[in-house]
Symmetry: C2
Subunit: 110 residues, 2 copies
DNA sequence: ATAATACTTTAGCGAATGCTTAAGTATGAG
DNA sequence: CTCATACTTAAGCATTCGCTAAAGTATTAT
């Protein structure tokens, strides 16, 4: 899956900005309009929309127009990709710990 | 903890680049010199060193000079900060699911 | 001492980021 | 229809990013 790696690029990049993380955090509490997401952030609506685009490109947020408001929803299954990457890293790391344990046990001939 | 947020900035940004993720992945298998980290990456040693600086600034990697080689080590405990952030998000998300369940159960008067 | 190795530092460059302002469009209220 | 609301789009701009080339320094080999 060549796409997996480039998806991670987008997800990590999206989460690297504090304003965007704040938006994600807000969305874990439920749907929100663009205006609602923008309200606590000290920047123009235009800037917030650009952040939203990055979150949408990363697949972290989906949006839908309802009347004249744009409703945003968090796509948690996309966050799971990050979990997956961390689990894979941990697998190698923990195998290393296991080997270290084995090595120490072998030398430990009390 | 004001530092926590800015630490996350650095960590997520560091992981947003595929070359840097490759370096982290390599380091989960054990220590490695700068040259060893650079070998599979198609760029100059100078570029790899700049990536290493970003990983070091993010607290993900520590280094030590041994003779004329620079040995690099992964700081897994720094990766745990990301886990923590995800767990916090999940806590809210899962509470939302719980409330949805409760709401559906209430309306389900069979 | 000389040379090779393994980095290190600095300057520079094109592209991407994170904003802003200004001028749109579409929808709902009166 | 008129006006306010809620976004949307486009242009511009300073900064940061990812990279290279070139010229260092420090350590080990011969």
């Amino acid at each position: 899956m060549l796409k997996y790696e480039s998806q991670l690029d987008g997800i990590f990049r999206a989460l690297a900005d504090p304003s965007r993380r704040a938006m994600v955090e807000r969305l874990t509490h439920g749907h929100a309009s663009l205006g609602a997401l923008a309200e606590p952030l000290e920047m123009t609506l235009s800037a917030v929309q650009q952040h939203l685009s990055i979150l949408r490109d990363a697949g972290l947020v989906s949006t839908e127009k309802v009347g004249r408001t744009r409703m945003c929803t968090l796509r948690i299954e996309q966050l799971d990709l990050v979990d997956r990457w961390f689990d894979d890293r941990r697998a190698h790391w923990e195998r290393r710990i296991d080997r270290l344990d084995a090595y120490l046990a072998k030398g430990d001939g009390t």
